[in-house]
């Protein structure tokens, strides 16, 4: 039924124009210990099924995945850090959006969140090829849970079916919940504390900061502008909205370099190049 009062035909009483935001995240690599809590929290929150035991690092679904990165030096001078990697929410020429033939991937201009719409996806996986961060995953199996475990599913998130691609969407359902709450309370905008993705919420070392990058007072915005903050594959020009931060020079240097090998290992570098 049309809402004549509001003048729109959607049946919605009132169209709320939320303040434009650009949600982003800054991960302090120096604080990440690779505990994996973010991976678990993400999987629980988003109803990622346990998957068959034959699933591998290529066929399994890990929308948030922690990678170990080291300085390449041999014993005893090896040092490591951990990089939690999810969808980097590219803002500019978003590669997955541009290749999708089904319009199953959308960059929401009002939030900056790159969303994946499973019912439109037909599983061509172009987006997986296009993603520079390998942050997209294909559902190779019907979602299945051990007997009884289906009762533990989060009612706010639909499980995805076999044959579609999925990825991190900054727990968009939490933003919707925060908006609903704000609407019920008669507020125009959400309280920033009401919208935090599961991975950020659970991080025991508080290595992740999340917020509106357009809000110069938000911790995420301030942290993203720190001289020691950086983005992955910045040279591609896709303007990802996930930043990393490290006070360790070797970490920042590693990201700038084209290879992952230490500078003082010429032999290995030669092998890698040739």
């Amino acid at each position: 039924m049309a809402n004549y009062e509001s003048g729109n035909s959607s049946g919605v009483d009132k169209v709320i124009n939320y303040r434009k935001a650009k949600y982003g995240m800054v991960i302090d690599v120096d604080r990440c210990t690779g505990c994996g809590a973010c991976m678990v929290a993400c999987a629980v929150e988003n109803n990622v099924p346990p998957a068959p035991s034959t699933a591998t690092d290529r066929t399994g679904i890990t929308p948030m995945r922690v990678y170990e990165v080291d300085n390449g030096l041999p014993f005893p001078n090896n040092k490591s850090v951990f990089f939690p990697i999810s969808c980097q929410q590219c803002e500019h020429h978003t590669p997955c959006v541009s290749v999708c033939p089904q319009n199953a991937v959308e960059l929401d201009q009002s939030t900056g969140i790159v969303g994946q719409i499973p019912v439109r996806c037909f599983g061509c996986r172009y987006c997986m090829v296009a993603c520079p961060y390998h942050a997209r995953y294909f559902n190779w199996w019907d979602p299945a849970w051990p007997n009884g475990m289906e009762k533990t599913l989060n009612p706010d998130v639909s499980p995805r079916m076999r044959g579609v691609v999925e990825k991190c969407n900054f727990c968009f359902h939490r933003l919707q919940a925060a908006r609903s709450k704000a609407a019920v309370e008669g507020k125009k905008d959400i309280d920033p504390a009401e919208y935090v993705p599961a991975c950020v919420e659970c991080c025991p070392t508080r290595a992740m900061a999340f917020g509106d990058l357009l809000d110069s007072d938000s911790k995420a915005s301030r942290f993203s502008r720190d001289k020691n903050s950086f983005r992955l594959l910045e040279n591609l020009g896709t303007e990802p909205k996930v930043y990393f931060h490290s006070e360790q020079e070797w970490v920042r240097r590693l990201i700038e370099s084209k290879t992952t090998f230490a500078e003082n290992e010429p032999a290995e570098r030669e092998n890698a190049n040739g």
């Binding site: 994996g36 991976m39 678990v40 999987a43 346990p50 591998t56 030096l73 025991p204 070392t205």
Partner: protein
């Protein structure tokens, strides 16, 4: 471990768990295990009814039985007149159920209450003994330390409570940041992330710590007069004092043995002395008692006892039962071949140990092993009877002070889920076994309330209310019922830390462990020799707990953790044995053979095989040699391409 948990329920069904902000133990977070705790009731290894297990050469065959049948069989075994004791191994002593076990065992002529050598890597008794304080337990005030010298303790990978861990990580940044020096042969997660990794040769940690002590004494980096005044064996002008012992371990003398330059040892000693508070922590499950005494000695030299950022005395919790209780006996003090009935409580001690350590305590002729674990994993796989207990969220329980924490605390949990029909509360098992005796065992809920009432009557400390997020003095709580209500809704009682620190303790340090042969034993602890042409197998298990299904999946589908029975080897070592990355190989020790997957890792020390202990696979542990001092972390090994 005593973390406050907030459960989101839909139709009384938990769908997610989160930490409780400002919780005094967890600091508000949850670990990767805790975040999926609500999935554990549906774990594929979950047992939903009792089984009798038949072990034969082809493996095991489990036959479903009723709880009556299995309990009758246990009663029969207990009442037989055969030689040997009836023991319960309790992975987490000091819980309320632990006191019920002790009461039950005290009622038997041959009852034995056994605790693991360490709980979460800590032996509270050993620490008390070295400090010379019989009555008071000590916890690690690691969050206030400025320098942490860790001997294999996974300080950045699950050691202590989540609150301790998160505060240590937070303290790593800033001007006056904490410095973590990790001493271990394994390239562990903490070794990877520490400010300094000191990769000593396997088995030389005690020599290293005594070399540090020698520098500190020689360069007067510790308060010699005070130490003399507080100890009989520090420097007593005899040939068997601590100062005489460390003289044998000058950095120049032992540097070659450890593979660490003498100057680096000196620098670390000076660092510890100048960047105070300094604290030595260690993974007690990996070291012998004598090695742990040596580590504690360094804490005393550093002035870490009864000091902020050091080892802080904490009060004990009241016992829920007044009756006669069986004494606690450490597993390593149980004579070999002396247990005829062994009941394994389902709680995990947080420390891996090989089944052989238990097996050698059993009588050779037809012992009975009963597991009360909710899962058919780990040592439960060796049991003759499986009587599953409720799992997480299904029963009442309590969490006494975690062994690493420097202030006493107490919290209780109440069930959210209904226990499956054939699953039996451990207290019910004990009650049914003991029904022919005069012993009476109230319900666990009643015992918990009685313990809370005793805490309430002492009127000390604080109470954190998870519902309001506020903390109040216990003296402001109106009744024991109100305290019970707060605690059963995610709250926590904890003692006044400042008050406990100000307590004067009449310390009489026992540098040589209070043993007449301590001098010789400490000397011997430094001579564990892993040198030689062969390889050394070092099993690696950071934390030991039943993982939930998603954790198993994520470990399998990412490179974050090595799966069980993966051997990380330096490429240089691997090339000597014609091994490549991803190869299957056969690992052979004098104890046995197992199949492993090879992973080349240039960060690993040459000459060692760093093998992961899986969550339910114990193959690596099964081929580890148990030494006379009950350690099993270093085993000579051979590796062959499969």
């Amino acid at each position: 471990m005593a973390c406050g948990v907030r459960t989101r329920c839909v139709d009384n069904q938990p769908v997610s768990l989160t930490g409780i902000p400002d919780h005094p133990i967890s600091g508000g977070g949850l670990c990767s295990i805790g975040l999926g705790g609500h999935l554990l009731p549906y774990h594929p290894s979950r047992l939903l009814q009792p089984y009798k297990v038949l072990h034969n050469s082809n493996g095991t065959n489990s036959v479903p039985v009723s709880s009556e049948e299995s309990i009758s069989a246990i009663i029969g075994a207990i009442s037989s007149s055969r030689q040997g004791s009836v023991a319960i191994l309790d992975g987490q002593p000091k819980r309320t159920i632990s006191f019920a076990y002790r009461k039950f065992l005290a009622g038997l002529a041959d009852g034995l209450y056994v605790i693991p050598p360490t709980t979460h890597g800590v032996s509270t008794e050993l620490i008390k003994n070295v400090i010379g304080e019989k009555e008071t337990s000590f916890g690690f005030d690691i969050e206030n330390a400025r320098t942490i010298l860790s001997f294999g303790a996974p300080v950045l990978d699950g050691w202590g409570t989540l609150g301790q861990f998160s505060r240590v990580v937070k303290n790593r940044s800033g001007k006056d940041h904490v410095k973590i020096i990790q001493v271990e042969s394994i390239h562990s997660r903490t070794a990877q992330l520490a400010d300094e990794w000191v990769p000593v040769k396997p088995g030389t940690e005690a020599a290293f710590v005594l070399a540090i002590a020698d520098v500190m004494i020689e360069e007067r980096l510790c308060d010699i007069q005070k130490l003399k005044a507080h100890s009989k064996d520090f420097d007593n002008n005899s040939s068997v004092s601590f100062t005489e012992l460390v003289k044998k371990f000058s950095s120049a003398n032992v540097s070659g043995q450890m593979g660490i330059p003498a100057e680096r040892i000196r620098e670390i000693a000076r660092d510890l002395a100048s960047r105070k508070p300094s604290l030595v922590v260690f993974d007690g499950s990996s070291f012998s008692r004598d090695e742990q005494i040596a580590f504690m000695d360094l804490n005393i030299l550093l002035g870490a006892v009864n000091t902020k950022g050091g080892l802080i005395p904490r009060t004990g919790l009241p016992a829920p039962l007044e009756e006669k209780l069986a004494e606690e006996t450490s597993l390593i003090d149980v004579p070999d071949h002396s247990i005829r009935v062994l009941i394994l409580d389902g709680a995990e001690s947080g420390s891996a140990f090989p089944w052989q350590m238990l097996e050698q305590k059993l009588v050779t002729n037809d012992p009975m092993v009963v597991s009360l674990s909710p899962y058919f994993t780990g040592i439960a796989r060796y049991a003759d009877y499986l009587i599953p207990s409720p799992t997480y969220l299904e029963s009442y329980g309590d969490s006494p002070t975690p062994p690493t924490v420097s202030m006493a605390s107490y919290s209780i949990s109440r069930p959210i889920l209904v226990t499956p029909n054939e699953v039996v509360e451990p207290l019910d098992v004990i009650r049914r076994i003991a029904r022919d005796t005069d012993n009476e065992f109230p319900q666990l809920e009643t015992l918990l309330k009685s313990r809370v009432t005793k805490i309430f009557r002492e009127r000390k400390g604080f109470v954190f209310d998870a519902t309001s997020g506020k903390t109040a003095r216990l003296s402001d709580i109106s009744s024991a019922e109100q305290l019970t209500q707060i605690l059963s809704h995610g709250g926590c009682w904890y003692e006044d830390k400042v008050m406990s620190r100000s307590k004067e303790i009449p310390t009489r340090f026992q540098f040589l462990g209070g043993d007449d042969h301590g001098f010789e034993k400490l000397s011997a602890a430094t001579t564990r020799n892993s040198d030689g042409p062969g390889l050394v197998l070092l099993p690696y298990a950071a934390t030991v707990a039943q993982p939930h299904q998603l954790m198993e999946k994520l470990d399998r589908e990412s490179d974050l953790r090595e799966s069980g029975n993966t051997a990380s080897i330096n490429p240089e070592t691997a090339s000597r044995f014609s091994l490549s990355d991803g190869n299957r190989a056969t690992l052979k020790t004098e104890i046995g053979i197992t199949d492993i997957k090879v992973k080349l890792d240039k960060a690993v020390m040459p000459g060692i095989i760093q093998a992961t202990v899986g969550s339910d696979e114990t193959n690596i542990l099964e081929i580890c040699k148990i030494e006379n001092d009950s350690t099993w972390r270093i085993t000579k090994a051979e590796i062959l391409p499969a």
